[in-house]
């Protein structure tokens, strides 16, 4: 397969960037999308050019490191699929593919396709946890958790923190990310004591990072490789309203 990759190249955070076209004449349909970039990078290296920088690690869709916007879609055309799990067979011979970094004022470009997502960590640090110092835990069965609640918590806890929701949102909003954490922890009985302070602190941190607001476009949930539902944002809003009205 012959593919043309138009890739965002930017030497550093303060440098200007631009789209640069590269031909990959020998792409194999069974390659993963990142392996396609690997092949290009091997060639660039030998030709004395700077290889393309991109984040990646587990390459099995769970660590949340990778993520680029492919033809205007975060993580590319396949639903519920991270960039590393996307394969070249999703494209056709002769395709021109645009590859760009996540765009949001809160995600500065570090180099090429790599961005700074530390804002998401700071949101969690603001209260995305249950305070349970090691050793203080009661017997695991002392608090039964109804299965539907455990399932809701789990569905939201599967967020991999890749930032695709922010990249896809026309407002660069981190509401889906934040709502997944609030829904995960606030729905569990273990999370109840910090329920109000958690949501208030997380939202404050989220706003402070410069992420945009939610306009309920649903682009986030469409891009989410783990299928975190839009419903979680309603839960976040509900929790926030509840906490703001002073209910513990």
């Amino acid at each position: 397969m012959k593919l043309t990759l138009r890739i965002w190249r930017q030497a550093g955070p303060a440098e200007p960037g631009r789209m640069v076209a590269y031909e990959v004449p020998d792409a194999n349909p069974d390659m993963s999308f990142l392996e396609l970039l690997d092949v290009l990078n091997e060639r660039l290296t030998l030709e004395g050019e700077d290889p393309v920088t991109f984040d990646h690690d587990c390459r099995e869709g769970i660590c949340g490191s990778c993520g680029v916007v492919i033809n205007g879609q975060a993580h590319g055309p396949r639903a519920l699929t991270t960039t590393c799990q996307l394969h070249v067979r999703s494209f056709a011979d002769g395709d021109v593919i645009d590859i760009e970094p996540w765009r949001s004022v809160a995600f500065g470009v570090l180099k090429d396709l790599m961005v700074d997502r530390s804002g998401l960590d700071r949101i969690i640090q603001a209260g995305g946890y249950i305070s349970a110092p090691t050793g203080s835990a009661p017997e695991a069965h002392s608090t039964p958790v109804p299965k539907p609640i455990a399932d809701t918590a789990f569905d939201n806890a599967t967020c991999i923190g890749c930032g695709a929701c922010v990249a896809a949102c026309p407002n660069g909003s981190a509401m889906l990310f934040t709502s997944a954490k609030v829904t995960h922890l606030n729905s569990l009985p273990q999370g109840a004591p910090e329920r109000a302070s958690r949501v208030l602190n997380l939202v404050e941190a989220m706003d402070a990072e410069g992420f945009g607001g939610c306009t309920n476009t649903g682009e986030c949930t469409n891009a989410c490789p783990k299928g975190i539902p839009l419903d979680s944002i309603a839960t976040l809003n509900r929790e926030y309203l509840r906490a703001s009205l002073g209910r513990k």
């Binding site: 390659m31 993963s32 392996e35 092949v39 587990c58 769970i62 394969h87 530390s118």
Partner: protein, 645 residues
């Protein structure tokens, strides 16, 4: 020519000499304590933020120590613990099915093929129950039953249901729990977190670990960090094989540099191979993906009887298929242990009966299961895995048989540690997959998560306190000659990599290293093969230092340089791996020597000669490593050969 020197025996002197069930209590009681008010003044470096590192960093910070923590990823939430699928063992006995701490201990020692230290394993089993309590309190959403209580399942052929799980993402959920606890301490200012920062070397002063040299991967800046103790939680070295189920950037540099500085490396040849991975699709393959071995419960493994048969599987009639596991092991069939299933697949491929690209694959067929249970039932049970397979291969497993092939998955070997988890460098502690301590020659399913969290949450913190309370720490700053020398060495190494400007990429060397190790030191190892590898590896290392091409500079973000530095360590580690495999002339657990097998092809241990852990002292680059043996005594679990035929 001898490829190693024999040094003095080594022994763990820290486990108290009391009955095994009292050892951990006694050790904790004997341990010195640090006054809570003084803890602030003591700093600890933790390298890595996986289950072990994340748990340790959070716990030490909660106790009041000043923690300086590092990870090469952009966030402490991404370490490869996150990819563990199956579950975590704990001797809760919620099922009332006869489980106990003693049984978990027993299973682990036996599963490790009698090459683990009993004291450590017993403590692991003891601690397991606390881990579940801790994780539930943190909000880890384990699978639950309708009554609201925790669900468990039996895993990897174990007779009791002691495995707790969170769908197929247990590692992710446990890691997020540890990450959240760590985040809380970062916010409180007790943990100074350095993400995207990679350890380059260990600083040893007056024989004690006192800090690390690390590189900021964004700016390229090289800095020193000084502390009272250093904890390495940097995971395993499976990527020495290039293709493994590890994350692409997982590396052994931290433990290898510590090894070069004096930490002994134990049992490097104990590597675990997982039989149900998706085969490689071509030369571009960058990593391998594991699928849960639960697939073997209903899938049937076969190859065409005729070598080189390229017909599509549905064109191969029943009588031209060889369901080789069912044929060779009628008792266990497709459910034989991991190493046996893996080796059998390799043997079939060696006979030319492999399927798929390069003939490196065997069929895992669900046609019978679909006929028997109906497609809906198969979908219900394995839907997620089938989707994953489809996503990666583009083939629909409901219609055509899956292709699977074994892949490197976990490394039982690692830095040698005593009962306190301290390496042979005082003040350098090693936890999780990075150490060698608990799994012997083979790890049981769902035990990796248990060990990482046991080490990080419960075992390391009191022992680290003991070390700090027992020592005085002079102030050290960057101008100290040892610090300056270590920095100069690390910087010099990077400069040298950049200056070679050769003709081969880093990956091409890594790939070649992986191929040599996989062929000669993979699923089956022979003296001839290992000697061949030991002939080729030094040449490859020298060629690397002569002709690798690393573009760019060290003063900026440079992923090629990062990889080159890691591969330079893998090249050295690969040699030690082969030396260890060559010296151990027995088969045990994940280490299969073709010379040591029973007439029907089963692994044969040699307890008279090899009932010891092999702790290797660094003998210089290209030099001769020195073997220190730690004899293993089995006072509680009696030595026995396993038999599956």
């Amino acid at each position: 020519m001898s490829f190693y020197k024999l040094g003095d025996d080594i022994a763990d002197t820290t486990a108290p000499d009391v009955p095994i069930e009292q050892r951990w209590d006694k050790r904790r009681f004997d341990a010195k304590l640090v006054n809570p008010a003084n803890r602030r003044r003591h700093s600890v470096i933790v390298v890595g933020t996986g289950l072990a590192g994340g748990a340790a960093g959070a716990t030490l910070a909660e106790q009041g120590y000043h923690v300086i923590q590092f990870c090469y990823q952009d966030s402490p939430r991404r370490a490869h613990s996150i990819a563990a699928q199956g579950g975590i063992n704990a001797a809760k006995n919620y099922r009332n099915d006869g489980d106990s701490v003693y049984r978990l201990f027993y299973d682990t020692v036996k599963g490790g093929d009698f090459r683990a230290r009993e004291s450590n394993v017993y403590r692991l089993a003891q601690t397991s129950t606390q881990i579940i309590d801790q994780c539930v309190a943190q909000g880890v959403p384990f699978a639950r039953e309708y009554g609201g209580l925790l669900d468990t399942r039996s895993f990897g052929g174990v007779q009791v249901a002691r495995t707790f799980y969170a769908r197929g993402q247990t590692g992710q959920q446990l890691l997020i729990g540890a990450y959240q606890a760590l985040s809380r301490q970062i916010d409180a200012g007790n943990v100074e977190m350095h993400a995207r920062t990679e350890m380059l070397d260990l600083i040893v002063i007056d024989g004690r670990a006192r800090g690390i040299v690390a590189r900021d991967l964004i700016t390229g800046e090289i800095s020193t960090y000084i502390a009272d103790a250093v904890v390495l939680a940097t995971g395993g070295y499976g990527n020495v094989f290039y293709l493994s189920t590890n994350a692409k950037n997982s590396n052994a540099s931290a433990i290898w540099r510590a090894h070069r500085r004096g930490a002994y490396f134990a049992n490097p040849c104990y590597t675990q191979i997982h039989p149900t991975c998706i085969p490689r699709s071509g030369d571009h393959q960058s990593k391998l993906t594991l699928m849960s071995e639960s697939l073997r419960n209903d899938g049937r493994i076969w190859v065409p009887k005729n070598p080189g048969d390229t017909r599509s599987p549905d064109q191969i009639p029943e009588d031209e298929r060889d369901y080789y596991l069912e044929r060779i092991y009628p008792g266990f069939g497709n459910l034989v242990p991991r190493d046996i299933a893996s080796r059998a697949a390799k043997n079939q491929c060696d006979l030319g009966r492999g399927v798929g690209p390069g003939g490196l694959g065997v069929f895992l067929d669900f046609a019978d299961a679909i006929k028997r249970m109906g497609e809906a039932a198969v979908r219900e049970k394995y839907g997620n895995l089938f989707e994953m397979y489809d996503r990666i291969t583009g083939e629909d497993p409901y219609k055509v048989p899956m292709r699977i092939y074994p892949a490197i998955h976990y490394t039982m070997g690692g830095l040698w540690v005593d009962y306190d988890l301290q390496s042979t460098i005082p003040g350098c502690f090693v936890i999780g997959e990075a150490n060698f301590s608990d799994h012997g020659a083979n790890r049981l399913g769902a035990s990796a998560l248990m060990q990482g969290l046991a080490d990080g949450y419960f075992v390391l913190p009191p022992m680290l306190g003991n070390y700090i309370a027992s020592n005085k720490f002079d102030k050290v700053d960057a101008s100290h000659p040892e610090v300056a020398a270590t920095v100069a060495e690390a910087t010099g190494r990077l400069d040298r990599l950049l200056s070679i400007d050769g003709v081969r990429t880093v990956d091409s060397f890594h790939r070649e290293l992986g191929e040599i190790l996989w062929d000669e030191c993979g699923m089956a190892r022979s003296e001839d093969g290992l000697r061949k590898a030991l002939g080729r590896l030094p040449e490859l290392r020298e060629e690397f230092w002569r002709s690798v091409k690393v573009p760019g500079t060290g003063a900026s973000l440079n992923q090629s340089l990062e990889r080159a530095n890691r591969v330079s360590d893998f090249l050295e580690l690969g040699e030690l791996l082969c030396v260890d495999a060559l010296h151990r002339e027995e088969s045990c657990g994940g280490h299969f020597r073709v010379e040591s097998q029973t007439p029907d092809g089963e692994a044969r241990r040699d307890d008279d000669r090899f009932a010891y852990a092999a702790a290797w002292e660094f003998g210089g680059t290209g030099g001769t490593p020195i073997l220190h043996r730690e004899p293993l005594e089995f006072d509680y679990v009696h030595l026995a050969q396993r038999n599956y035929a």
